[in-house]
């Protein structure tokens, strides 16, 4: 049987299909103003027996497919275990959420923390800051890695941090040093969540921000623990949803 999982995130929609315990399809698309239409487009020619939805848009799909839903948190737990049996700590930084999750000895969800209401310190924050500095996302991470010192960014609020960055630039600060400062601020916030919830073991790093090398390296340094990024960190939630579909009886 084929089990599908769809993860409707704030920035991208991800689809994964699993058959005989193997990932046979994974796709993603930018969410757009019409998440339902985009999700349909993404699934158009996909064949599956059962599907489970997750992500902030899970109820949107549920209303149209009458499929079960699970939260992103449980989806990430299941998805992370697909890649690593012994996974104990998960950090997911997506478009509008940051989540730190710990698993118990059986691999079930134990504790979790999420950022509060705003997009402070999430993927969206990085996107906005990259734009302010005139970088693409790839250039942004590379520039930060090339810096030898960092400008201190005090604000985690996207709006306040933007004015802070603009003001640093106008004072002649180096672009790559500002870039490093921004990466550091996002890492120190995520590390705070992780230390509260999941204080030991390898960190399984998922979500779009896990594609950013600078964040991964800084996180490893800050936590003093190895950080594992799966081959396609954005698809983890969709895989988790697909695995949940396979568990349904």
């Amino acid at each position: 049987m084929r089990f599908a999982g769809i993860d409707i995130g704030s920035r991208t929609i991800k689809l994964a299909v699993i058959e005989n315990g193997e990932l046979i399809l994974s796709r993603k698309i930018v969410t757009s103003h019409d998440p339902l239409g985009t999700a349909r487009e993404l699934m158009a020619d996909t064949v599956f027996d059962r599907i489970t939805a997750t992500g902030y848009g899970r109820y949107l799909i549920k209303g149209h497919l009458s499929c079960p839903v699970i939260t992103e948190i449980t989806a990430f737990v299941l998805g992370a275990r697909f890649f690593s049996d012994s996974c104990g700590s998960i950090l997911d930084i997506g478009g509008q959420d940051t989540k730190a999750i710990s698993l118990d000895s059986r691999g079930d969800l134990c504790k979790f923390e999420m950022n509060d209401r705003c997009a402070a310190g999430t993927g969206r924050f990085l996107e906005v800051m990259a734009t302010v500095l005139g970088f693409t996302l790839e250039e942004f991470s590379a520039a930060a890695l090339s810096a030898t010192r960092a400008e201190k960014i005090n604000s985690m609020c996207t709006v306040f941090a933007e004015s802070e960055v603009v003001s640093l630039i106008s004072q002649g600060a180096l672009r790559n040093e500002v870039a490093l400062g921004i990466h550091k601020s996002i890492v120190s916030r995520s590390a705070g969540l992780l230390k509260r919830v999941a204080p030991t073991e390898i960190i399984f790093f998922a979500g779009g921000v896990a594609l950013n090398d600078c964040v991964r390296i800084l996180l490893e340094n800050e936590m003093g623990r190895p950080v594992f990024v799966p081959p396609d960190p954005q698809i983890v939630g969709a895989i988790g949803a697909a695995l949940s579909a396979s568990e349904e009886v």
Partner: protein
């Protein structure tokens, strides 16, 4: 429906704003309460009370005043209702559960003030609370720093604010302070009412309030059944109405509701299927119409089986012993009773944690959702150690911090659902 406009005008309410408030309240009530399935028949009384919350009940207060009875408003479970009733007064809990006129409140208060305090000010400045406007005396109790300082600012806005100081530790000296405060409060009540508290009037008052508490304690105990015979939302509503309804009528209505619920339990008739995830909510009080969190929880496949809260068991679980042959001896018994209340303003406050554990066990809950109002320092500070201890004892705990606004509803729902998924795996 009766037109109460004249009565509201005479109380000095801003009719237009008040109409808008009632319309919003009515809609929320319909969406949140009336949409629930298989509600107990006995909830009809509470539906009626809520539909007349600014109507008939206020008319009763106005009538009571005409008969020479005093109306005493308060914001806290430390203000003894027994003493008010002993001078034949009417005690009303003042509502502070709506995100109403926060812009107005923020002209006098810092923005990072908890919603409960802001709401109290919003109601006052917006002139929309007929309870507040009916009061002969408003009791401001010194609990948290926020309330303490807020009463200083409230003083000039209301006609008769009476400050009651409260201790913050559970020592003998602290108890003596509390008793002295209550003694002073008796003086105040006797002055405004022109009536003297006697042994007989005080005993009668204690018994009246005890009966009311016994009724809600009975309701609390019935909720141990699975399937849950009543929703957490409806139970919370009963605990909210506790604060402003006529005590005798209320007690009767709760007992009738309990009779019905006991039959439901016998027939395994519930509002949620047997085996539904069960949680205890612990933390800050939820004043009318603050139904946000229970609504989010119960629309996420879980049922609330108890509230460790001032609007809940912390407010009602102790009875006052009817002991003593003088007013002073009775006052000792009253002080003993109130001194038990384990509010987070006390340091240390171990009995609260013990009782959350006890509730979880006796109500067969799988986990605890700890609710702190944003900027409520005592409960937020206490939530960390409480969570740690509960987890250590094997009780999964979810800590939430929120206010009256709805903009974080999506995020809260995700957390609550994820917590539910965790509990199901257990």
């Amino acid at each position: 429906m009766t037109d109460y406009t004249q009565m509201w005008e005479s109380l000095g309410l801003d009719i237009k704003t008040h109409d808008a408030l009632l319309a919003g309240l009515g809609k929320a009530y319909t969406d949140i309460f009336l949409s629930q399935k298989n509600r107990p028949e006995g909830m009809k009384y509470f539906d009626f009370v809520m539909s007349e919350v600014h109507g008939l009940r206020i008319k009763e207060l106005v009538d009571a005043k005409e008969q020479g009875r005093v109306i005493i408003g308060s914001y806290c479970v430390f203000v003894p209702e027994e003493l008010v009733l002993a001078v034949d007064g009417v005690a009303v809990g003042l509502c502070a559960g709506a995100e109403f006129n926060f812009e107005g409140a923020e002209t006098l208060l810092p923005r990072n003030t908890c919603s409960l305090i802001k709401s109290a000010f919003g109601f006052k400045l917006g002139k929309v609370c007929p309870y507040l406007e009916s009061c002969d005396v408003i009791v401001g109790e010194n609990t948290c720093d926020g309330k303490k300082k807020a009463y200083e600012i409230m003083g000039p806005l209301v006609k008769n604010l009476y400050i009651m100081d409260l201790p913050q530790t559970k020592s003998d000296m602290a108890k003596a302070v509390l008793k002295e405060e209550y003694r002073k409060f008796i003086e105040k009540l006797e002055n405004v009412s022109g009536k003297k508290i006697t042994v007989a009037s005080l005993k009668k008052a204690v018994e009246l309030v005890n009966a009311k508490r016994r009724a809600v304690k009975r309701l609390a105990a019935i909720r141990a059944a699975d399937p849950a015979p009543i929703s957490g939302l409806d139970s919370l509503l009963v605990n909210q109405v506790f604060f402003h309804d006529d005590p005798v009528r209320f007690t009767d209505a709760v007992n009738k509701l309990c009779d019905e619920l006991e039959v439901r339990v016998k027939n395994h008739n519930g509002v949620f299927p047997k085996g539904t995830t069960r949680v205890v909510v612990s933390g800050c009080p939820m004043a009318v119409p603050n139904w946000k969190l229970p609504f989010l929880i119960e629309s996420s496949y879980a049922v609330i089986v108890g509230e460790e809260s001032c609007v809940g068991e912390r407010g009602s679980r102790w009875l006052t012993e009817v002991k003593g042959n003088t007013v002073d001896e009775l006052l000792d018994a009253i002080t003993d009773r109130y001194f038990n209340i384990d509010c987070a303003v006390f340091t240390p406050n171990p009995s609260r944690l013990d009782y959350i554990k006890e509730m979880t066990k006796k109500l067969h809950a799988q986990g605890v959702i700890h609710y702190s109002l944003q900027f409520c320092q005592p409960y937020i500070m206490e939530s960390g150690p409480v969570e740690k201890e509960l987890e250590k004892s094997g009780i999964p705990t979810l800590r939430l911090e929120t206010d009256y606004g709805m903009e974080d509803a999506g995020q809260l729902k995700t957390r609550i659902e994820a917590f539910g998924e965790r509990l199901k795996k257990k």
